[in-house]
Symmetry: C2
Subunit: 231 residues, 2 copies
């Protein structure tokens, strides 16, 4: 690792290496939080994501190697894989925020309204909402996804990760508030809502929050189905 002077005192290194400055500033971002270890970890993670996104934006996904990203971030290539499972994860800044416990409980107990689709919407909103800090990275990730379709697999990746949890969740709710839909279908429906919201957000020039476009996504879905029913 790059030696910051031994105990974090006096970061007076005159070195012009951009990496160091970036890490330093990232370190200042959240100054009074957790131990040094935790802060550095967050900082490095951020630096790696930024490096990955910048390089891919400039050269394209396949032309960028993990070695380049690590170099730009001032870190050993081996360390890269301490932070991400794959190159793509870094480019996407994959955030692994879980569903909050109370949202889950509410949903399982028949959700805020008892109407499945509406309650699903609440669930998805909680997934779309909190990433306040990573906002700008999600934006960049969206842009990159357009140019590098391979990255779209993110949503599937995400789905795989949470599928078992979601399925549990659906089955649990089913007992208190019966419905017919297959759990697998609902899982994809969640992905559909997330993705549609994000795309709408992108099309709106990234104004506001992704979650702001969730009602629109639901409305689209309802529209497609309703038009079929009325005729």
């Amino acid at each position: 690792m790059v030696p910051t002077s031994s105990r974090e005192t006096a970061p007076a290194d005159a070195e012009p290496r951009p990496t160091l400055r970036e890490l330093a500033s990232a370190l200042e971002g959240t100054p009074a939080e957790q131990g040094l270890r935790e802060r550095k970890k967050r900082a490095r993670r951020g630096v790696l994501i930024d490096a990955a996104q910048r390089l891919v934006a400039e050269h394209g996904l396949d032309a960028v190697t993990v070695e380049m990203i690590s170099a730009e971030a001032g870190v050993s290539p081996r360390t890269f894989f301490n932070y991400f499972e794959s190159k793509d994860d870094a480019v996407l800044g994959a955030d692994d925020t879980d569903l909050s416990e109370d949202v889950v409980r509410t949903f399982v107990d028949g959700g805020p309204t008892g109407r499945l689709l509406t309650d699903l919407q609440v669930l998805v909103a909680s997934l779309l909402a909190p990433h306040g800090e990573a906002h700008v990275r999600v934006m960049r990730a969206m842009d990159l996804m357009q140019q590098e379709p391979r990255l779209l697999q993110r949503h599937v990746f995400w789905m795989e990760r949470h599928k078992s949890r979601l399925v549990e969740l659906f089955e649990a709710r089913r007992e208190t508030t019966p419905f017919n839909a297959d759990a697998e279908m609902l899982t994809i429906l969640v992905v559909l809502l997330i993705r549609t919201s994000l795309v709408a957000w992108e099309n709106a020039g990234f104004t506001g929050d992704p979650a702001d476009h969730l009602p629109g996504a639901v409305a689209q879905l309802i529209d497609v189905v309703a038009r079929d029913l009325e005729s």
Copy 2:
């Protein structure tokens, strides 16, 4: 390549290698079709898929190497990649059937019924239907997908491949028969219908055709939305 005697006459090789027999029988499957070249290509492809699926079912996805698959199929590893872009493709027996021209034309012209969801259903049906020969391979692929979630990316992969085409299609139809839904959303909706149908087919013990379960998938979707509307 394994030398079958020089001109395809006299396949009287007494070699007990299972590979050869398998290829030979596969060759007999469609005896009067195309040239020898074309038939061998199909046959080899089939042998490779079978080998891949068998090995993965036995050892798991990560424990199976392209080298093993090629060996089992009696083919050079380099040749493997003449047939598939990736190991996963072989395991899935990725079929790249396009939409037939008339189905496309009908859909673009406002589809059989003019109701978007119903017409989408027709479109999806044409994707689910024809793979008569590969039926059994799709079954195996479904089973493997349960044990190896990585393979789920297939649908995304498929989506990526056809997305531009689908988007064109949707936009073209939009001009003759306006609707509000975003093309991106409809694309995912297609994936949802395909996947849901396949899962339903699997849950039904692979009886009949995947397409048989498409109406059920649509019904589920309608149910979710309609229940939200009525209350």
